[in-house]
């Protein structure tokens, strides 16, 4: 009797780590919109029937935390999408593996540059510029002027209408912070943010949440990446997307191979495939309004035209570095975040 109990208990303890085995696998973390992630996986599985993909969608912060927590024993093979900063951070920590894809020559300059500053531990897969989207209905109702420049956001009439993410939790908001510092200079940027704070109703946790709130009328305006704003207006919400007149920063959505991955070969197959022109041309159908990294790929007709936007020369190496980041976040905490009220 006891033996049997022990055996049953043993069975329960060891229980069931895996049901399926056999075909090659790829464990993918995807940090873009879940629709895009799913489209990507189904496209891949359709063209590579021998590789099964296990995909989990995590925001880029979650993904970095997971990759780091598992550093000594990675469960993930490939990390696709999400702001470039955490990817660069992971590269600096040695969490991701070097890989020079044969596809590199086909990529746009910013994508290759992303690979070069990281020592080929990551690569750009898409990019998007920072801006904001505002709810035209609310602005019309309140008789507000279209905010075209960063400076317009300080208008007292916008009090309680603006949302932006908390840079401690969101890469988007950190990019905004770094962008403002690069446009204005650090002290002026913090001055600006302090004034802006009066108009902000909420610092959200997720980067794209502000414009989603604006789309549903929970806020008037959300400071986000422009492709996030565009996707709301394509969904049918009354959102207009604006590129700030003073110039703006941008993100390079990236992709990294995890160091010590279990399935590096499958990961490389996916890596090369996803940089190709065919798949990147499909992505707009899934609602991806970012600029694709392959030179031949055509962006969606809805995508903001990067040539019409005044892009600053964003210094990814400096503002992606750990010390600079910590210093800026600490200053944000003490001067702005700490004062935020309900």
């Amino acid at each position: 009797m006891t033996i049997r109990t022990a055996a049953i208990a043993a069975g329960a303890v060891i229980a069931l780590p895996a049901w399926s085995a056999g075909a090659a696998e790829l464990n993918l973390i995807c940090s873009a919109d879940v629709v895009i992630c799913e489209r990507l996986v189904s496209e891949f599985e359709a063209s590579h029937s021998d590789i099964g993909v296990n995909m989990v969608r995590l925001s880029s912060g979650e993904a970095y935390a997971k990759v780091r927590a598992e550093a000594r024993n990675p469960q993930t093979d490939l990390w696709w999408g999400g702001t470039g900063d955490p990817h660069l951070q992971a590269a600096a920590d040695g969490l991701t593996a070097e890989y020079e894809s044969p596809m590199l020559p086909e990529l746009r300059d910013w994508a290759v540059q992303q690979a070069e500053i990281s020592g080929h531990r990551t690569v750009g897969v898409y990019s998007g510029a920072l801006g904001w989207g505002y709810n035209t209905q609310i602005f019309e109702k309140k008789g507000l002027a279209k905010p075209a420049c960063w400076a317009d956001l300080l208008d007292p009439a916008l009090k309680g209408e603006i949302q932006i993410a908390d840079p401690n939790s969101s890469g988007t908001a950190y990019t905004t912070l770094a962008t403002l510092v690069q446009i204005m200079g650090e002290d002026e940027a913090f001055d600006y943010l302090k004034k802006l704070d009066a108009n902000i109703s909420q610092y959200t946790k997720s980067g794209s949440a502000p414009v989603k709130a604006a789309a549903r009328g929970e806020a008037g305006l959300g400071i986000v990446f422009m492709h996030d704003a565009v996707s709301q207006s394509v969904e049918g919400f009354p959102v207009k997307t604006i590129a700030p007149c003073e110039g703006t920063g941008y993100e390079v959505g990236s992709m990294s191979l995890i160091e010590g991955a279990v399935n590096p070969d499958e990961a490389k197959v996916f890596y090369d495939w996803v940089l190709g022109v065919d798949v990147q041309n499909v992505m707009p159908e899934a609602g991806s309004y970012q600029i694709p990294s392959n030179k031949e790929a055509v962006a969606s007709e809805h995508s903001p035209d990067l040539s019409q936007i005044k892009l600053i020369d964003y210094d990814f190496a400096e503002y992606g570095s750990s010390e600079r980041r910590k210093a800026l976040l600490a200053r944000w905490d003490s001067e702005i975040g700490g004062q935020a009220s309900e």
Partner: protein, 731 residues
């Protein structure tokens, strides 16, 4: 050959076989894939323990020696006190050695630099696998068998082994993770010791600031505490109101009240928050109506503590109701009749007799509300506003851009401190008081009706609140059929098709996006539910039927995992089970064990309560007729416990599907759970699909609960059902 020898023989054979056959270390592809059998000879990491030891892993030699020693004892000594004592010693030594060698050497050699300087370098080892687990159980059983031979607990090996194995499991799955969260706080990224992170965070003004008293904003610890107290008070009062209406008024819709209270329990938690934003947000339906009718600007009051509070009260009132209804029913009508006979009015009776007798139930309901609010993750995530609460702050300090595990550990410690003190306070307050009102004498009569001055307001509140709940749930059900909530209210099935579509082109395919996480969730919930029920019932039986030293501590240890918030569990599991000696991240096992040990306390409580109704003479009769205690449990107690089994099964199944706070850290690419998936949808603003998915989950849960009911069946008593005696007021 006596029973002592027989069971020792079997155990030793099992250990020996596992050393010779089962791979000692964890297998990457998973043990049950059985893909390892083919490579077992060529791949040294797959070798069983005995061969590992011969091949030069000297850390396994003591294990072999101890096995030889145990066998020697068996062959040379008769069973009895001497052999028993040595078996216990061998078992303890074995366990200690396994822990020591497992913790000290990891994947890449020694885990601590000190050991490396003393002993020189060694090659790393992977995590424990099947062989090591069997040996761990072997040593645990040696201890209990040894104790049985010495005559502890009348030499009942089954009871002793159950206790020993339970203690082992709780140590591994509750205490080890909690410990590792605290060691994690003092560790740098690369594993070296540092106090810098803790010192920086422990007196952070963002946690402890009290400036809200002076008009600023308070630290997150105080805000969370305040919120938890508000939620607990409100849910207790509302729960009491519901319970009173259900038992002591002539309110006509009592049956439907009960139905209403089940709903929130089977709702994925953040769904309530979501429905609230759609109803009461700045452009919510109700807000628009009110603004249109009155011209007031209502704005964004919902976001922040107010909104979280509202959502939590909606979600947790039913739980408080379920706790209180038993207590309110249990208050003996005789007492109230006595009071009225002594000429107290209805109001005075209610105030001076009924209410004080409900005190333990109220304390319990308050405690549950408090802990649930502290642990709640979904609602603050949706309605949080700028400031978070502790559970979301923990989450974002791990996954947010700051990436500060030591901050997470400090916050987790604070959260744990709050919940555990509430738990302890409630225990202290309730012990030493007597609330028993059921004296064994039959009760005549029925409960006195509520005095009018209480009844009307209470019925009013209950009716209003029920209406509110119904509206919120109607939103959830219909929300899935609207094209775009708040903008385009065309009815559509698109969201359901996207989530749960199937396609037939070129063979049948589950093409919907939700299927993957849906099947995983069902599978894991269906595995976890019976295990949880089994562990819970076994524990409950030990606690209520067996007497052994340290029982109070044993019980407290088991119940403690109820007071640990899910976010803390999630983080601690990640920290504890990602590296050797025990490595389970990315598997289904980590999800299953998380559910089992998190939900077990409810199974324990349920079976303790149910067993209190079964007279001990039943067990005695069975034992006298020669059955051993295991057989008695199986053939006599279990069939009488059907309702308790049912409750434990349902609860653990439902919790496995609806819980989010712990799960969100433990899901992996391969094993993604429904709630984690839905949170992703909510974060991306895909409310339609999220709500469609949630509605499907609710329907599925109702179906499966019905299925459990059918499988377990009713308790068959050959007389009318036991009258509600022994329903002690103290929970």
């Amino acid at each position: 050959m006596n029973a002592d020898n027989r069971r020792l023989d079997r155990l030793s054979w099992l250990a020996l076989l596992s050393l010779l056959l089962l791979p000692w270390y964890k297998i990457r592809g998973g043990f049950f894939g059985f893909g390892w059998i083919g490579d077992a000879i060529s791949e040294p990491d797959l070798w069983p323990g005995a061969f590992q030891a011969i091949a030069g892993r000297w850390q396994l030699w003591p294990v072999l020696l101890l096995l030889v020693a145990a066998t020697g004892l068996r062959l040379t000594q008769p069973s009895g006190g001497f052999r028993g004592r040595w078996l216990i010693r061998i078992g303890i030594m074995g366990l200690v050695w396994l822990v020591a060698e497992g913790l000290s050497s990891g994947m890449r050699g020694w885990n601590w630099n000190l050991l490396e300087t003393v002993f020189g370098e060694i090659s790393g080892q992977p995590a424990f696998g099947a062989g090591a687990v069997v040996l761990g159980l072997f040593f645990t059983c040696l201890i209990s068998f040894g104790a049985a031979e010495r005559g502890v607990l009348k030499g009942d090996a089954f009871v002793l082994t159950s206790i020993a194995v339970l203690i082992l499991l709780v140590a591994v799955f509750v205490f080890y993770p909690i410990l590792s969260i605290f060691t994690g706080a003092f560790q740098d990224f690369d594993g070296s010791f540092t106090t810098e992170g803790v010192l920086r965070n422990i007196d952070d003004s963002k946690i402890w600031s009290l400036s809200c008293l002076a008009g600023g904003s308070c630290g997150v610890a105080w805000r969370t505490l305040f919120l938890a107290i508000c939620t607990a008070s409100a849910t207790t009062l509302l729960g009491l109101a519901f319970a009173l209406v259900a038992t002591r008024t002539r309110f006509r819709f009592k049956k439907s009240l009960r139905l209403l209270t089940v709903l929130p329990i089977i709702t994925p938690p953040f769904v309530v928050g979501l429905a609230l934003t759609m109803l009461l947000g700045r452009s919510g339906t109700l807000t628009q109506l009110i603004e249109g009718a009155t011209g007031w600007e209502l704005g964004r009051w919902l976001y922040g503590l107010t909104g979280i509070w509202l959502a939590q009260v909606l979600s947790f009132t039913p739980i408080s109701f379920l706790v209180l209804i038993g207590v309110v029913e249990g208050v003996s009508p005789s007492m109230e009749e006595a009071s009225q006979t002594l000429r107290a009015g209805r109001w005075r009776t209610f105030r001076k007799v009924s209410l004080p007798l409900m005190a333990p139930g109220l304390a319990n309901a308050f405690l549950i509300g408090f802990i649930e609010s502290m642990a709640d993750f979904g609602n603050p995530l949706v309605l949080g506003g700028s400031g978070g609460v502790l559970s979301t702050e923990i989450f974002f300090s791990v996954v947010g851009a700051q990436n500060d595990p030591s901050r997470a550990a400090v916050l987790a410690a604070i959260l744990l401190f709050f919940t555990l003190s509430a738990f302890l306070a409630q225990r202290l307050w309730l012990t030493g008081r007597n609330f028993a009102t059921v004296g064994g004498k039959g009760d005549g009569g029925t409960h006195a009706l509520l005095p009018a001055r209480v009844a009307f307001p209470v019925i009013g509140i209950v009716a209003l609140w029920s209406l509110f709940t119904v509206i919120v749930y109607a939103m959830i059900l219909f929300g899935g059929f609207f094209k775009l909530w708040g903008l385009d209210h065309t009815l559509t099935l698109d969201h359901y098709i996207r989530a749960f579509g199937v396609s037939f082109d070129g063979g049948f395919r589950w093409s919907g996006v939700a299927w993957n996480s849906f099947w995983t969730t069902m599978l894991i919930a269906l595995i976890a539910a019976p295990l949880t029920a089994a562990v819970g019932l076994l524990t409950g039986w030990l606690i209520s039927r067996q007497r052994f030293p340290g029982k109070a501590v044993f019980e407290f240890m088991l119940m403690m995992s109820f007071a640990i918030p899910g976010t803390v569990i999630g983080i601690s599991y990640i920290m504890a089970f990602n590296l050797p000696p025990i490595q389970m991240t990315g598997t289904a096992l980590i999800l299953v064990s998380c559910f089992v040990f998190r939900n077990m306390p409810v199974g324990v409580r349920g079976s303790v309560a149910a067993m209190a109704q079964l007279d001990g003479s039943l067990d005695e009769a069975s034992l006298t007729l020669g059955a051993n205690s295991g057989r008695t449990l199986r053939r006599v107690i279990l069939p009488l416990l059907r309702p308790a089994i049912m409750a434990a099964l349902v609860y653990s199944f439902v919790r496995a599907i609806t819980s989010i706070s712990a799960v969100i850290f433990l899901v992996s690419a391969k094993y993604n759970m429904a709630t984690a998936y839905i949170v992703g949808l909510v974060e991306n603003g895909q409310y339609g699909v999220a709500i469609a998915y949630s509605s499907v989950l609710i329907v599925v849960m109702i179906t499966v609960i019905g299925g459990f009911q059918f499988l377990v069946g009713d308790r068959r008593l050959r007389r009318r059902p036991t009258p509600p005696v022994n329903k002690e007021a103290a929970a």
